[in-house]
Each structure stands twice: as structure tokens, then as C-alpha cells.
Assembly symmetry: C2
């Protein structure tokens, strides 16, 4: 099937949303935990997390202009701190449910049954059920002109990883920890490692 710019423009809105959300490949699937200045907890599902750099340790998330994630954006702007929590098969349905449009006063933790926990010195809630979690301090907010989304850049300052999943060379075996991936707007997937490959070097005869 071949799809052109003209077809894209004329497409039904929901069909296009499914299509364009699928075409980019598998995505990181994480729950972002925040707290308002008034102390209200918020939890939102994100699939736009990407690696920005290792030194300093930076990652980015894209926040859409809709109200549902505006809570996350507002809390991050106000408190500068947020947690990122991996999703595993035991909590993927609750994670998905965090995308429902709850009223501003409702905590997604309470609504979905996920458990907030706090770590010393970190003012945002973690998800107790997650196996891998980390905390970020917002260092930059960049508005994306083309569609009113916002890129939030965070510096990682705290991590929790199961001992057995942290390998000798610093690689985290997130598959062993049960972390899952997603595609499109609603499809959840476990993974199966093919291989880890050695650092790629130029060889005289190509491969």
C-alpha cells in the first residue's frame, strides 16, 4: 500500500491518528509521575520518551497541548521534578487507563489502583509496581511551533534498577526486568532479544 501526501490530508481523523502513530516504529512506554504545588499527584502515560545524551544524562518527552497532559506539564514547570516508570505486563492495563480524561482533581493513582511511593528528597511520586524507575529534573522547555507541542528536557539524577538486570558494562537488561514496548496508540508488546552486537567498526570489506 502506497500512501501519499494528498491521501494523508484527506484521511478520516481517527484513521490518520492510528496510521501516523504506528509508522514510526516501536516506542518507549513509561508512566510519568508528578505532583502539583498543592500536593496533588498525577500520573500520565507517555510513548514519546527519547534518549538525548549520556553526559550529562538527558532525555526528552513531548507534551501535547491537550488538557489531560497539561497537568503533567504544569506540574513539571512548577516543581521541575518528575519520575519516569517502566511498564510491565502486570500493570499495562492500568497504565493504559491513565490516558483516560480524568477531571483535574482526580489522581490517576487512585483511579487505576497503581501505588504512589516517594523516595527521600524527591518531590514527585514513583509507581511502586514498576521494576525500573528514574527521576528527572527539568532543564529546558522548548515549544514546537508546528503543532503546539512542547519538548521537555530532563536531566536524570536518580535511578532504581533490579540488581540482576544491571550488567557488568552498564547495560540494563530491561527485557529481563519485564519492560514492554508499544506501537500505535493502543498496542502493547513484550520483547525477545535477538542479540547484542559488538561496537561497529569499519572493515576493509564492508561487513
Amino acid at each position: 500500500m502506497n500512501i501519499t501526501a494528498q491521501t494523508l490530508t484527506e484521511m478520516e481523523r481517527r484513521y490518520r491518528a492510528n496510521l501516523i502513530n504506528s509508522i514510526g516504529g516501536f516506542k518507549s512506554l513509561v508512566l510519568v509521575g508528578t505532583k502539583s504545588l498543592e500536593g496533588r499527584e498525577n500520573l500520565a502515560l507517555f510513548s514519546s520518551l527519547f534518549h538525548l545524551g549520556a553526559d550529562p544524562a538527558l532525555c526528552g518527552i513531548i507534551i501535547r497541548p491537550q488538557e489531560i497532559v497539561e497537568n503533567t506539564r504544569g506540574n513539571i514547570l512548577n516543581t521541575k521534578v518528575y519520575t519516569i516508570n517502566h511498564v510491565h505486563p502486570g500493570i499495562y492495563q492500568q497504565a493504559h487507563q491513565c490516558s483516560a480524561k480524568y477531571a483535574a482533581g482526580v489522581s490517576e493513582f487512585e483511579a487505576t489502583g497503581l501505588t504512589p511511593i516517594f523516595k527521600e528528597g524527591i518531590e514527585a511520586p514513583f509507581v511502586a509496581e514498576s521494576k525500573i524507575s528514574f527521576a528527572c529534573k527539568m532543564v529546558e522547555e522548548i515549544p514546537i511551533k508546528h503543532n503546539r507541542t512542547t519538548l521537555v528536557i530532563g536531566q536524570i539524577f536518580w535511578m532504581e534498577i533490579p540488581d540482576a538486570c544491571l550488567k557488568e558494562d552498564g547495560f540494563i537488561d530491561i527485557e529481563q526486568a519485564g519492560s514492554i514496548t508499544c506501537s500505535g496508540l493502543d498496542s502493547y508488546h513484550t520483547t525477545h532479544r535477538i542479540n547484542r552486537l559488538p561496537y561497529a567498526k569499519v572493515k576493509k570489506e564492508g561487513l
Copy 2:
């Protein structure tokens, strides 16, 4: 294992690279094809692609300041067009090899044995072996101050998807197409669908 900001700072460089590249979860794995103004083809492996919006259809990639991907950046800035090609188990070793630091004049297609093909009216090479490919026009380039990377935003204007993988609602079954995901700097994974979930709605009793 608990890792703090202090530990992160003192970590050996390669160890930290593995760690921070793993912590963000599974990633999109794609080959980005470009052509220089002089007609030289370039192919680079990216794991930073993220969805930005469906209308207009936008995605972002992060380009690091190193020379190896500078070719991609230069070509995109000069020609404004690039292709994005999914990776499957049959080509993941060749895809990985595209990360080797080939000299500026060397085409990664030639070096790895992947096959460039062109589509009418699109001035960048596609990967013939990929099952899912799409083409983008660069619409914005945003420098990230914190680490000299660049966010390149592209508008999707062309797609090719196997008929059997495009579902009635616009969802692309990228797992069925054999698309794989990656974690860390060097780990490749196939996927297994758990489920597609219905659109999340607020319920009276939470879940």
C-alpha cells in the same frame, strides 16, 4: 541497585553510555537515508525517532554532533528530504554496521550491502530490503543547547506499507511486518503482542 547523581558523574564514560542509553526503555529502530547535493548516498541508524503529531504528520529525530551523523544532518539541511526505513531481523546486522565511522566519501549502502532504491519525485534513497518505509520533508531544525544535539522535525509525505499489515482502522501492524526494536546501544529485539486495548475512558469506579 540505586544510582544517584553523584555516582552518575563519577562513572566510567562507556559504562554511563550503556546505562543511560538503556534506562529510557525500548526504542524505535530505523535507517535514515539521505543524498548529498553531489549525489552521494548516506545511510545512518537512528534510535531516537519519536512521534510528534498526526495532523500534520510529524516526527522528530535527534542528531548528535559527531561527524558520522553530520553527513545525515548536512544532507537533510541541504536537500530537506530524507527517508526512514524500518529494520527487521534479516537486516539488523547490516543496520548496526551502518554505525561504523566510514569516511565521508563511503556509502553505507555499498559498505553494508543494503540496496538503495528511489521512488519517483523523492530525492533520497530508500532501503530496498525494508518492509515499511516513509519519506519526510524537513520543516524545522531546533538546536538543543544542553548538549549540542539537534532536533530535526520532519513532515511525513509518503509511506509504503505491506497491504496485509495495514488494518481497517489505520493501525499498522509493524510486528507482523517484522519490524524490531532496540535497547541500549547494541541490543536488538523482536516483539510479541500482548493486546490492543480500547480507547481509555473514565469509569465510575476507576478501572
